[in-house]
């Protein structure tokens, strides 16, 4: 993997190597990016450098929902307009973005930062499950929406959380599982289709 960039001058070789470390960027893309920046105006390069420094210096995890944020608590947790009685549990912070894009959900979130995966050695202690429970114990939450991915690990995590939360008497819901919009029945698998049938709605 370690391509030799030493034929370029030292600062150039250094940047190529740094780019090369990033996921999905091979030696050729790294060279192209580097030479692009060399040609680009001073401001473009500095803006990039600043942005990178900024995410490392000013971004942290929200102490309530563990979303990635530049302020603590995060903007969502601070928002008085939002419905503080609902918590939507997601695997990763990035999962919040599509949910927010729907503009249909106005409650709070809780980011687990992973999913139970025994064969990768990830168990519930490695996730923010305890933190979720203490939120449910103290705050006046009436509904928890489990929005882990609809695959084996996500389902296992949802079932595990259900076990933990049920004794607290909070309503637990799971995102519906069915056919994707713009999809095709022909390619739907049996699990998806049977769930879609179970959850069919009168129109």
């Amino acid at each position: 993997m370690n391509a030799d960039f030493t034929s370029a001058s030292e600062p150039i070789a250094r940047l190529i190597e740094e780019f090369n470390r990033l996921p999905g960027i091979g030696p050729k893309s790294a060279q192209r990016l580097t030479y692009h920046l060399l040609q680009a105006p001073q401001e473009t390069a500095e803006a990039l450098a600043d942005a990178i420094r900024d995410i490392k210096e000013n971004v942290s995890l929200c102490s309530i929902c563990f979303n990635i944020t530049d302020s603590n608590p995060c903007a969502i947790c601070r928002d008085k307009e939002r419905d503080h009685s609902k918590i939507c549990v997601v695997e990763e912070a990035i999962d919040i973005l599509p949910l927010e894009r729907t503009k249909k959900y106005h409650g709070l979130y809780h980011v687990l930062h992973g999913v139970i995966s025994p064969s990768d050695g990830v168990s519930p202690e490695d996730l923010k499950t305890g933190e979720l429970l203490s939120r449910l114990n103290t705050d006046s939450v009436t509904e928890v929406i489990l929005a882990t991915n609809p695959n084996l690990e996500g389902e296992a995590t949802a079932m595990y959380l259900q076990r933990l939360i049920t004794p607290l008497g909070v309503k637990i819901t799971r995102l519906a599982r069915g056919l994707p919009y713009g999809g095709d029945l022909e390619y739907a698998d049996d699990v998806t289709l049977s769930r879609a049938l179970e959850g069919r709605q009168e129109m």
Partner: protein, 256 residues
């Protein structure tokens, strides 16, 4: 090129890892080609046509195209999704354990029809919600058998004498049972009750239908589980990661 450019196979998906933007690398076990890895392109997108047909612990018919490095899955159709298995945390965990076990023990492209059938049978058993301890232990015994790690449980592995109907000792290093006279030479042994020995002997020599009829109580189940766990850890030179999770789930502690 002599091999066909596309081929079809049945498969049981045992592992999935993400690749790039929306792809996955799947590891699956097939009857005629053994363990294979292949790429499922775009499988993480909601509208992937492979979709749930290549979910973990699913028995599917796959169509693959030869790739330069890894082959590419072009079509998939579920044969059995073992849905009941996936609706219960305990059976999901057992299923994950079995897939980790197969992935750890089996090298790529070593085919074994018996193992494929055993896998199917085991997943079916777990789906039916039958005694998971019996199902898992029988799976382990058969798997080790197929791989050539069949433990010797007729004679003492050291002095070769017939084992007496008393408590004997299991040694992972010897790959079998030591009699009371020989056990002292070996620092790491586990006591093996007569009942446990009988069950192991039966399982080693019977088909699954007979094996599944065996009823074992909690104490015996735990004894057999520990013996097999030790032996498997010795053979793999590491503890399987899902073992810790199974133990925890069983102990019923609800952490928080």
């Amino acid at each position: 090129m002599t091999t066909p450019r596309v081929y079809q196979t049945e498969a049981i998906i045992i592992k999935r890892t993400n690749l790039g933007e929306a792809d996955r690398i799947l590891t699956f076990y097939t009857p005629a080609l053994g363990k294979i890895k292949a790429v499922a392109k775009g499988n993480r997108r909601p509208k992937s046509k492979l979709g749930g047909h290549v979910e973990l612990l699913t028995h599917s018919q796959l169509m693959l195209a030869r790739g330069r490095n890894l082959d590419i899955i072009t079509q998939a159709q579920t044969i059995n999704n073992f849905l009941p298995l996936k609706e219960n945390l305990e059976t999901i965990s057992c299923g994950m354990y079995i897939s980790e076990l197969v992935d750890a023990f089996i090298d790529e492209n070593l085919e074994d029809h018996r193992l494929f059938n055993l896998l199917l049978e085991t997943l079916q058993r777990l789906s039916e919600g039958k005694d998971a301890d019996v199902t898992l232990r029988y799976f382990e015994i058969r798997l080790l058998d197929y791989l050539g790690y069949r433990p010797q449980i007729r004679q003492c592995t050291s002095c070769n004498s017939q084992l007496q109907p008393v408590t004997n000792f299991f040694s992972s290093r010897y790959g079998g049972v030591l009699c009371a006279n020989c056990a002292y030479q070996e620092p790491v042994v586990r006591a093996l009750s007569l009942n446990a020995l009988k069950v192991l002997r039966l399982w080693q020599n019977c088909d699954s239908a007979t094996a599944y009829k065996v009823k074992i109580n909690a104490q015996l189940a735990s004894e057999l589980e520990k013996v097999m766990r030790d032996y498997i850890r010795y053979l793999l030179e590491r503890q399987l990661k899902s073992t810790a999770w199974l133990i925890k789930l069983k102990s019923g502690k609800s952490p928080g």
